[in-house]
């Protein structure tokens, strides 16, 4: 029998995993299964299914859409593979396997809580950033139902905030850079009937940072809910919030892990089941391997953040400068300085956003777009619309930890010709 692990040492995820790697995986039956049970078809890729001649380009892909999703951080991948074998048991059980899973979960929570500046018992794990926003805002609003139901929020919040606020929303406009109008925010939050105020740490589409500390001061007794999904792992998250939401896949962790941090003294009335599992801190059977991988990714990412941030900031400055200089009739949007390090958004007049994304993809560049033609609703990004900036021909570039300067320079070199070609097709 192995020695029981010592209880949750805050930052010892790697160490605590080490002793449990020896589990002999009982997978032999699956591996010898008949061909009908083969899982290889699950791994069919876009390039295999495509008839176009892009095969040679696949090896030269330049991925500039890190704000949508990043490849898993190597530290997270390694942790996930170990944790799948060691953290599968039910953490509420009293047997060795259960206690192992519980220890790993405690370690993950300790690391994640420390990274966002709360105690472990103030951190709820959810299944996504969207779920954290929805559950968190709803729980704070419910706890303050005697005060009112209004959710004050900026016009450029994530759609999950907009949907949760619903009818009882007081939306506050933003300036041309995408920054909330602080005077209007202050006015709105001080009206009667406000349950909670929501303001993102920085905008996920244009990178502009929001005045979180000033908003917190303005909010007074009204709890401030900060969606920090775009910032955590990339940028410093300002203080002053009562509740914070974040999402692991935004910092190189796995999909399916959201954080909901609720500072002591903030009342919540949870709608989720407060069952025996960690007093409701992670309702339902927790995904221990994913939580650990999320923690490993964040720990590794924070260690790199300063260096990566400097690099990304300089490269985004370069893209901003070159796009504005080399392409006529382009609107580069968002704050040039007070922004996230890794995101840049611009819109090209007379250009179809879908055509530009597709043309860039064919040249090997992956970017996203807030143009209406690239969305399922055929409506332009509510962020760009609220800022009053051009919504068509829109491209968001976001850099990841693997992005190289060479890739950034190639993007700047290729883009003007593509824009020119698409404009020529419509006689512009």
């Amino acid at each position: 029998m192995s020695t029981p692990p010592t209880p949750a040492a805050g930052h010892s995820v790697g160490v605590s995993l080490h002793w449990s790697k020896g589990h002999d995986a009982p997978h032999r039956d699956l591996h010898s299964s008949t061909p009908s049970h083969s899982t290889e078809h699950l791994l069919a890729t876009a390039s295999e299914g495509s008839t176009c001649s892009s095969v040679s380009l696949v090896s030269e892909r330049t991925y500039l859409d890190a704000a949508s999703a990043e490849p898993m951080h190597p530290a997270a991948r390694e942790m996930l593979l170990s944790a799948v074998d060691s953290g599968w048991a039910d953490p509420v059980r009293l047997h060795h396997e259960g206690r192992t899973a519980r220890l790993l979960l405690d370690n993950a929570r300790a690391v994640l809580a420390d990274a966002v500046g709360v105690r472990p018992d103030e951190l709820y794990l959810t299944t996504s950033g969207t779920a954290a926003i929805q559950a968190g805002l709803t729980a704070v609003r419910a706890a303050r139902s005697r005060v009112g139901a209004t959710i004050v929020h900026s016009a450029v919040e994530h759609s999950a905030v907009l949907h949760t606020a619903g009818e009882a929303a007081a939306e506050v406009g933003v300036d041309r850079l995408g920054r909330v109008e602080l005077a209007a925010f202050t006015d709105a939050v001080r009206r009667p009937g406000v349950a909670v105020a929501a303001l993102q740490s920085a905008n996920h589409e244009v990178g502009t940072r929001q005045p979180v500390e000033a908003a917190a001061a303005a909010a007074g007794d009204v709890p401030l809910f900060v969606d920090a999904s775009a910032s955590v792992g990339h940028d410093v998250v300002p203080a002053g919030w009562s509740v914070l939401a974040a999402s692991a896949h935004k910092w190189g962790g796995p999909a399916g892990v959201g954080l909901l941090a609720v500072k002591k003294g903030t009342r919540i009335a949870p709608a989720w089941p407060m069952d025996e599992r960690e007093d409701g801190l992670s309702p339902g059977f927790p995904n221990v391997p994913n939580a650990l991988a999320a923690a490993a990714a964040l720990q590794a990412r924070l260690a790199e953040a300063e260096e990566l941030g400097k690099q990304h900031r300089a490269w985004i400055d370069e893209v901003r400068r070159r796009v504005a200089a080399d392409i006529p009739d382009v609107e580069v949007v968002g704050d040039a300085d007070d922004r996230l390090p890794h995101i840049l958004t611009f819109s090209c007049l007379y250009v179809d956003g879908e055509a530009l994304v597709t043309a860039l993809d064919a040249e090997g560049f992956a970017v996203s777009s807030g143009s209406a033609c690239t969305s399922s609703t055929l409506r332009p990004s509510h962020v760009l619309a609220a800022m009053g900036v051009l919504t068509h021909g829109n491209v968001r570039v976001s850099l990841g930890r693997d992005t190289t300067h060479d890739e950034v320079q190639r993007f700047c070199a290729v883009l003007p010709g593509l824009v020119q070609r698409i404009r020529a097709e419509v006689g512009m």
Partner: protein, 70 residues
């Protein structure tokens, strides 16, 4: 003088492209009234006027009046 430009049923950037091609055909001081029901036009026509330094006289329900100033 005013020219009507019916862009109903067209999606962006087409209404803006049509506006950009039509405005130079009117005299400086004259207007083009764009009829456009694409939701993106509500943002993009005012943005075009700002970027191209033309005057947005009014923006109403699916109707935008633009004056050529240069």
């Amino acid at each position: 003088m005013n020219i009507d430009l019916d862009c109903r049923g067209l999606i962006c950037p087409l209404p803006v492209i049509k506006l950009a091609k039509t405005l130079p055909t009117v005299a400086v001081g004259d207007t083009v009234t764009v009829l456009a029901d694409d939701p993106a036009a509500a943002t993009d026509i005012p943005a075009w006027c700002r970027m191209r330094s033309q005057e947005l006289v009014s923006a109403g329900e699916n109707q935008y009046v633009v004056r050529r100033v240069s």
